[in-house]
């Protein structure tokens, strides 16, 4: 209930100062308060409107509070609404006055008109005054049981408001349980939806403190609840559908039939006019089929049309949101939109933010067959009067060229840009030509011929100038004038403001000198002298370094400054695949638009629907914040690896294992590579899968290949045998951890020798591995270590999950065990304990 809050700031001169007017209104209100003559309500309406308009423009009208409350004894609903608005705005700042309103609001909560009951209850809950919460409990309780759905709807949200004012009052009154009952039984869909949102928020916030709330939150994802929502999905409003779909996306069906049932049921949601519903449905489809490669591909095909419709039919803002998602999808499956590239052609009246995304899409979908068309279109944009657009287009052309399709033609086009003689075009193109030459040195002759004709005076932008200078140095032997152009640039050393350019100039002149000494010697001397006198630290240091290097030995200098170079095969990707996967997990959220996982831009308590994944995620997050690349410990059970080339994946795994606070065991890493390799083989089916590599069961089922899981002689106690080569990827771990109930939770003491041996998490991992218990993530430093372990039964796919927190100063370990097969969880717990107790013993 807050009209302009900054209305507190001083009113503009043209507006009334307020004092006189307010006391006027006060008088009139007082007269009307007792009057019962006809027409009073109309007069009151006018006055109320006046009060509220004062309030909106920033005049403090809190002094008429009691008069307003007195006048509110009316059956006129318009008056009541205005009064609630007024009260809601001032109550927070005047708790004493707020007490005055409780009485009439409580009375209104019992009004016979359900509309008034609802409105009064909403206002009552919106007062946000902590010492009034006791008055809320009663009306809320009756509101939840009200015969009218409007009142129940308001009450369901009211409970959440109460929770935010005073969580303990809300929990003590047992409102969550009432909401749950209402959610599962109410006839009105909006009531059900409000119960769901309130419960999600309450349990989500409580979960960290209370086991029970965490359990309750998990029951929201249980099969009966999910089915209940799905069966009613068409009754919900489009917005409530989004909430339900978001919930279903987190549900993990037990088998593929269930997945197909859910998808068939929701298929028609893809045609919904509301983009939010469509995207929520798509997210759900993608999440459900992650483990089913071929179905996942079909999903891509299926969602294509609805997405393209959304891009072109909605507002530019909506297009922006959808295009961001398309971009994410196209990175994972480049071919899906390759024949639809014309949808991404820019229209003249689109805002720049949409055009930019479209250009990114065009570069992403370019392949052998469409590159020619796309580049032709882009070249037209390059001549655009809109300078930022022209720049972006040229960059896009360059990016496509680096993708290796039709390079020949593109290089020609780029060179044509240079002849357009527009400064911004030339500047952008020079930067690109430089990158191209680094990748395709074979084009140097063609490029150099054109670049050589560019007068360096026409290039002013530092980046472009640096690129030009780089080329002059790199191809000094092919460009007749190179030494002289460089010389003239050096003469103007003092006018060059960009340190980047000066650095490049130093290096270029060095290279030039090494190739054409007689012509360059003089310029080099001048450059080194200027460099040594430079006020910029880097420039000075580089000049000094070159000088000493040359003095020491020219051959060594050549080896340092101008060694034979290898062409760059792939330019570094800015985002790790880990981050990309996390963004994909957060499909249909801001993460996609910002291209950052949520932990990078939200506080912990606001992560909302994605909160759960943090429990495991935390471990890797911390390392990233510490600027360490997390070793690729995830199994790429998703489609990505299947779609992209193997080489990229190997890159990911190559950069494993650095010393960070948290380490995934290297053992796991190598195993995962094996496993995902096997998946690849399965898909291509051109060679029989290696029988000794266990393959995750989902894929097993999917392709109907009953792969023998090789038993291994694990030295474990009787009763329960564990599979020594168990494999589980972190995603499934998270899903299971979320789904399964807690089977056992206990605290055990460790023997001191064991604890003293626990110098780093790795030691324990190796030990537990000997007992066929594998670690999926670990972290921490003395004295607190945290581990997530898993194990599988030897002869059946039954998994045990363990969270183990070890405090080495108190020699205690806290265990939380979850199991597929509850009946054996005790046996496993005993086994785990015995394994742990042997740690550190010789």
């Amino acid at each position: 209930m807050a009209p302009p809050a900054q209305s507190q700031k001083s009113a503009s001169p043209s507006q009334p100062s307020g004092k006189g007017e307010v006391s006027d209104v006060k008088m009139q209100l007082r007269q009307l308060a007792g009057s019962r003559s006809p027409g009073t309500d109309d007069a009151k309406r006018e006055l109320f409107k006046k009060v509220i308009s004062y309030m909106t423009i920033g005049i403090d009208v809190s002094s008429v509070f009691s008069e307003m409350v007195m006048c509110s004894a009316t059956s006129d609903i318009v008056l009541k609404k205005m009064c609630y608005l007024y009260v809601g705005n001032y109550a927070k700042y005047n708790p004493d006055l707020a007490l005055l309103t409780i009485n009439f609001l409580q009375r209104d909560c019992k009004d016979e008109d359900p509309m008034i009951r609802g409105l009064a209850l909403r206002s009552l809950c919106s007062l946000r005054v902590a010492n009034l919460v006791e008055y809320l409990v009663g009306p809320l309780g009756t509101g939840l049981k009200d015969g009218n759905s409007y009142v129940r709807m308001v009450a369901a949200v009211g409970v959440l408001k109460l929770y935010h004012i005073s969580a303990s009052t809300c929990m003590d009154a047992d409102f969550p349980a009432m909401l749950k009952h209402l959610m599962l039984n109410d006839k009105d869909a909006q009531v059900v939806a409000n119960c769901l949102t309130s419960l999600q928020e309450i349990w989500g916030l409580e979960a960290s403190a209370s086991e029970e709330a965490a359990r309750e939150r998990e029951t929201l994802l249980s099969k009966p609840v999910i089915y209940y929502f799905l069966n009613r999905i068409k009754e919900f409003s489009e917005w409530a559908q989004c909430i339900v779909l978001e919930l279903v996306a987190k549900y993990v069906p037990s088998d593929s039939n269930e997945i197909f049932d859910v998808m068939n049921l929701l298929e028609d949601r893809l045609q919904h006019a509301n983009g939010a519903v469509v995207l929520a449905t798509i997210k759900m489809f993608l999440q459900l089929t992650l483990s089913m490669t071929d179905v996942h591909q079909q999903v891509y095909e299926r969602i294509k049309a609805p997405l393209l419709t959304l891009v072109s039919s909605g507002s530019p803002e909506q297009s922006y949101a959808v295009l961001s998602h398309l971009h994410l999808l196209v990175m994972r499956a480049p071919f899906i939109f390759s024949s639809d590239y014309k949808h991404f052609y820019c229209q003249y009246n689109e805002p720049f933010y949409v055009k930019k995304l479209k250009l990114e899409m065009l570069t992403a979908v370019a392949n052998e067959s469409n590159t020619y068309d796309i580049v032709t279109e882009l070249c037209e944009y390059a001549a655009n009067v809109d300078i930022p657009m022209a720049r972006e287009s040229i960059r896009a052309v360059g990016k496509i060229a680096l993708q290796q399709y039709d390079v020949n033609a593109i290089v020609d086009r780029l060179l044509q840009f240079l002849e357009m003689e527009k400064e911004h075009v030339t500047a952008e193109t020079l930067v690109l030509v430089k990158d191209l030459l680094r990748k395709y040195p074979q084009w140097s002759h063609d490029c150099i011929a054109v670049v050589g004709n560019i007068s360096s005076k026409n290039v002013q932008e530092p980046k472009a100038k640096a690129a030009l200078i780089w080329m002059l140095g790199e191809y000094a032997q092919d460009m007749q004038d190179a030494p002289y152009i460089l010389e003239s640039l050096i003469e103007n050393w003092d006018e060059e403001h960009s340190a980047e350019v000066r650095l490049h100039l130093l290096t270029a002149i060095m290279k030039c000198f090494l190739r054409r000494p007689p012509e360059t010697q003089k310029a080099l001397g001048a450059a080194l002298a200027a460099g040594l006198a430079d006020f910029h630290q880097d420039v000075h240091d580089r000049a000094l370094f070159y000088y000493r290097l040359l003095k020491y030995n020219v051959t060594v200098a050549e080896r340092v400054v101008d060694p034979p170079k290898q062409a760059v095969s792939v330019f570094a990707d800015t985002q790790s695949s880990e981050i990309k996967d996390r963004i994909f997990d957060e499909f249909n959220s801001l993460s996609v638009v910002y291209q950052k996982p949520s932990y990078m831009f939200t506080d912990k308590e606001h992560r909302g629907p994605f909160a759960f994944s943090e429990e495991l995620g935390n471990l890797s997050i911390d390392t990233e914040l510490a600027d360490n690349v997390v070793p690729a410990q995830r199994v790429e059970a998703n489609d990505k690896d299947l779609l992209l080339s193997t080489s990229e994946k190997e890159d990911n795994h190559g950069a494993s294992n650095n010393s960070s606070a948290y380490n995934a065991p290297s053992y796991d890493g190598s195993r995962m590579v094996g496993a995902s390799q096997a998946q690849q083989d399965l898909v291509s089916l051109d060679q029989p899968p290696p029988a000794n590599v266990p393959v995750s069961l989902a894929i097993d089922d999917l392709l109907g290949l009953g792969l023998p899981v090789v038993p291994s002689p694990a030295p474990s106690p009787p009763a329960l045998k564990l599979n020594a080569k168990a494999v589980l990827d972190p995603n499934s771990f998270q899903q299971k951890w979320r789904q399964l109930p807690l089977a056992a939770s206990q605290e055990i003491s460790m023997n001191p020798q064991g604890v003293s041996a626990l110098s780093s998490p790795q030691v324990l991992l190796r030990h537990m591995q000997g007992h066929s218990i594998h670690c999926i993530a670990s972290g921490g430093q003395a004295p607190n270590f945290k581990f997530f372990f898993f194990a599988q039964k030897e002869d059946e796919p039954s998994t045990y999950l363990v969270e183990c927190v070890i405090n080495s100063s108190t020699c205690k370990a806290q265990l939380k065990i979850k199991a597929d097969d509850q009946s054996t969880s005790q046996a496993f717990s005993a086994l785990f304990e015995s394994a742990l107790s042997k740690f550190g013993l010789p």
Binding site: A5, T197, W239, V278, Y353, E586
Partner: protein, 262 residues
């Protein structure tokens, strides 16, 4: 869930401001407007519809020059919030008849009433004009329609062109017309977008345009069809095909196929 909703004028004045959850600072509108106005990050001219400043996410859509803004600290679905903002604009337009700074200022009580029912504690309740009718009691103060500009992308085509204005386009859903309100009119904006890129040599790259709309009309009906024949640069453009079948009952505007002849 949304924390705040506000509408800003082109100059950055607050026309409507609603704080749903109180977890975003009060001066967010100022922060937002400064950011949008001075958006120059890497040469961009216009701020994107979604951005983040100090952990607060700002969503905005532009409707008839007004900025409809929502803020939140949560990681919400961008398409949901942007769609919602559009819908709120549409609902307000439905009730006020005309969406403009003036009509908003005159009807802010009604607008707050609408917002109360559309959102509760930042969660969307309904955006259906029909459903809302049963909750809304204030009556709109009608604003002079002549000075108001038409809403939406259709405005582009209507510059200077004759169109059928009529009261219906600018009429509130709750306003009662004196002297019987028995005018049976429907207005269908058929907006076809053609995108053609001309090269400097005046060669055009053929682009496909495919949108067909079928409108069923009951009884003998006079159909007025206004076809804008001007392009952006003001040159007269002759559409090749406009209708492919008018048979009294079904008006079908069929695909306009063109191969660079425009």
């Amino acid at each position: 869930m949304i924390s705040q909703f506000f509408v800003l004028s082109q100059r950055g004045d607050n026309i409507v401001f609603r704080d749903c959850r109180g977890d975003v600072q009060k001066n967010s509108a100022e922060i937002f407007f400064r950011k949008v106005k001075f958006w120059k990050e890497d040469d961009k001219e216009e701020a994107p519809p979604v951005f983040n400043v100090d952990g607060v996410n700002y969503f905005h859509v532009k409707v008839v020059g007004l900025l409809f803004v929502a803020t939140t600290r949560n990681n919400l679905s961008p398409s949901l919030v942007l769609e919602l903002l559009q819908r709120i604009a549409r609902v307000i337009k439905d009730y006020l008849g005309v969406l403009s700074e003036e009509s908003l200022r005159k009807n802010f009580v009604l607008v707050y009433e609408l917002l109360d029912e559309v959102m509760d504690f930042g969660y969307v309740q309904t955006t259906s004009t029909e459903v809302l009718k049963s909750y809304i009691f204030n009556e709109p103060i009608v604003v002079d329609t002549d000075r108001s500009t038409p809403l939406g992308p259709a405005a582009l085509f209507m510059q200077g062109a004759k169109r059928m204005p009529g009261m219906a386009v600018t009429k509130s859903v709750v306003a009662h017309e004196p002297g019987g309100r028995k005018r049976e009119e429907i207005f269908v904006d058929i907006i076809e977008k053609i995108s053609v890129t001309f090269s400097s040599s005046a060669k055009s790259f053929p682009t496909q345009m495919s949108q067909g709309r079928g409108v069923k009309l009951g009884g003998p009906t006079r159909i007025c069809y206004a076809c804008p024949v001007k392009n952006r640069t003001g040159n007269r453009v002759e559409p090749q095909v406009c209708f492919s079948g008018v048979d009294g009952l079904v008006l079908k505007v069929a695909d306009v196929g063109h191969g660079g002849k425009i």
